[in-house]
Symmetry: C3
Subunit: 158 residues, 3 copies
């Protein structure tokens, strides 16, 4: 039986996403079974990069406008500086041939990392499955996460 790793991706900071995806891909390539539970702001990582995000009601429309998401729109947790810091980190990553967040998402998916979207957060934000990229493997609540994590060797909240 392979060892399990579970990550709760709560944040959508670009830097935390890089750390989480790097861990996930590393663990998967070492033969571990990895799942990422995207919740709250973390849902932004699995939102489609193109087109508007549909949602019901004026407040949810506002929230999803301010909180557009998509793996190419993530911001740094500091030094964002209206995009300059992000552009700089992007350049530094290119320099050492480090993949972008979008590329890491695809690499993680291809290496078998499971993407789970938190249905409670989706409900709160008025999001339906159409808002998300097709690489999402399942839509589930906290009970599914807990059932996974209690078998996990490494469980992290990011």
């Amino acid at each position: 039986m392979s060892e399990k790793v579970t990550l709760i991706m709560f944040s959508d900071d670009m830097d935390k996403a890089l750390a989480a995806l790097n861990l996930a891909i590393g663990a998967s390539s070492m033969g571990m079974e990895v799942s990422i539970f995207f919740t709250f702001w973390g849902l932004n990582l699995i939102k489609k990069n193109d087109g508007p995000t549909k949602s019901r009601g004026i407040m949810r429309k506002m929230l999803n406008f301010m909180n557009r998401g998509g793996s190419k729109r993530l911001k740094l947790s500091r030094f964002h500086m209206f995009g300059l810091g992000k552009w700089m980190i992007g350049k530094l990553m290119q320099d050492i041939k480090f993949p972008s967040p979008q590329e890491l998402m695809m690499m993680a998916h291809q290496s078998g990392v499971k993407f789970i979207a938190c249905t409670t957060s989706m409900g709160m934000m008025g999001l339906s499955k159409e808002a998300f990229i097709p690489e999402v493997d399942s839509y589930a609540g906290v009970a599914t996460y807990l059932a996974n994590a209690k078998e996990g060797r490494i469980n992290l909240f990011i």
Copy 2:
């Protein structure tokens, strides 16, 4: 023997508190033994909602004035917008009949989740037991947390 879950509640962001309490209540309802170790800003979740917070010395008084705490005063980690974002999330939660942070605290307590206040943080901030809600089960330091967590199936830092 039931499986243990331990959460370190370091943050007092409303969104992280919602995530932590949702996890704790979920785990408890699945028969797991859950404890939350409230430390640093996380102490704000277990401060009384009413009345001033007493503390010794001018600096601690200042700190506890700026850092009033109480589960009804938590702020979002982003989009706080002088309370507008918080009000909006509150509305969205009501819409889907999701409980407020105060209600979740009570639900967690009633479902058997143990609340532990970090005595080191209390010392630093000049807080005594009177500052806290009666639902706090115990007052302890890092050794107690570690003894719990090393038996934990799921340990998270939030």
Copy 3:
């Protein structure tokens, strides 16, 4: 065999550093085998406190100028207030004879906590080993962290 604790130190917030080091020293003094994997902003905790940080290229020079690091330069995650909040927390810590972040780093090292610097983050930020304090035990990537953490009883992302 002693029980393992692994911490990923992603943040360089002074308050999170205090929590992490307090945990690490506590666990070590209880006979547990503790390692801290410093990554991304967390590298700032193990940067030398004195002298400029050398790095290649104008963008990395800029990044390392803005992001100077060193355990005596850590900021609070809130209430920083141009240093006032940090000074205040420092005073409150002195009051209860709580060690400073620099002192905690040395105490952790002396009590046997292993310091590991993330080589991927070092590459991205253009940092070489000379940027770091001599207390760093090893320089390694995510595979080393994962090999440690899968044997860990307590693994936290901070």
